[in-house]
């Protein structure tokens, strides 16, 4: 019982350990339950080709990235040059999910807007934004006007990026803007791993 005086110290260290670990966690990064699950299906109009649609079905057999973006999203402006640069010689196609382009912009009053006008407005705004911000890194962008696809993918902040494998299963989710570091250290190795597995 000589070491009794060490008990408070031990409790303190235990508590400090827990708190220290908690300090390192990012409460903004909510782990997605969709990892390892099939990417939710959708079929919506494309942003650029007006008469075409896009669905995850179309990408079966390929590893691809789904990047959620919008012209009103401030962080997307930091992410965009990284994506444009990556797309130049990316080993995988990047599919854009243009999320609530019109409704998501708090500055616009769009109550009672009709769907055709909303789609046209979204296309015009999104295309212009791409031109102004260094180009279009996406093979195709899907237009998610009402954010329903976003909900199906558990999107709670833009930008977010999903890595999807050949079987259409979500393998990884990146929350927040992609940086050159996260691309180099996480995404590119994960892409290579998935492509090797095929």
């Amino acid at each position: 019982m000589k070491a009794k005086f060490l008990v408070p110290l031990f409790i303190f260290l235990l508590l400090a350990g827990f708190l220290g670990y908690g300090l390192k966690l990012n409460p903004r990064e909510v782990p997605s339950p969709l990892i390892g699950k099939p990417a939710p299906a959708f079929r919506v109009p494309q942003l650029q080709a007006e008469d075409k649609s896009i669905s995850p079905e179309d990408l079966k057999g390929r590893v691809w990235l789904l990047n959620v973006w919008a012209s009103w999203c401030i962080s997307c402006r930091y992410e965009h040059p990284v994506l444009v640069d990556f797309a130049r010689n990316s080993p995988v196609p990047i599919i854009g999910l243009n999320y609530k382009e019109v409704r998501g912009d708090g500055a616009l009053d769009v109550k009672g807007i009709d769907p055709a006008t909303e789609l046209a407005t979204a296309r015009q705004r999104a295309r212009q934004w791409l031109v102004e911000h260094g180009g279009d890194p996406y093979m195709v962008s899907a237009v998610d006007l009402d954010g329903r696809i976003g909900i199906d993918y558990g999107v709670y902040g833009v930008p977010e990026t999903f890595l999807i494998d050949q079987q259409g299963v979500i393998r990884y989710k990146h929350i927040g803007p992609i940086t050159p570091e996260s691309l180099r250290d996480v995404l590119i190795p994960k892409i290579a791993e998935l492509q090797r597995a095929s």
């Binding site: 909510v30 782990p31 339950p33 954010g147 909900i151 199906d152 558990g154 709670y156 902040g157």
Partner: protein, 158 residues
Amino acid sequence: MRRLALVAALLLPVAGQAGEAVPVSDDPVLEERVMRLSHDLRCLVCQNQSIAESNAPLAVDLRNQVREQFLAGKDEAAVVEYLVARYGDFVLYLPPFKGATLLLWLGPGLLLVAGAGWLAWRLRRRVREVPPPLSAEEHARASALLDGSAKPSQESRS
């Protein structure tokens, strides 16, 4: 009466704002159900608010989802399952009881039991503890105090 009118007047802008932000359906019973469930669901944008309280665009969208699914005939459990499938247990203010949450649910009870056990052990040991025998000097002092021949106030101060 004047005070009541003042309170009513102060509440007016609040009520006005709330009406503006929430697109409500005409069915008050449905709305009540939507709001009751929404109070138990966490908003992922403003994480300290439920989706009933938050006016973040996502919270509004999720409230609309809850409403739509109720209208489609789903019950509370099905709607919760729908949201958990997309956002994980994080959306629940009442976390489920499972492996990963064992410590969370049982921890406080275990701490209580451990504390109570330790206290009982200490108390029982204290009862059994025999006070050390008095030295001859202490014995003499105690006798003097009992006789009333010593001055206790002075003794205690020394």
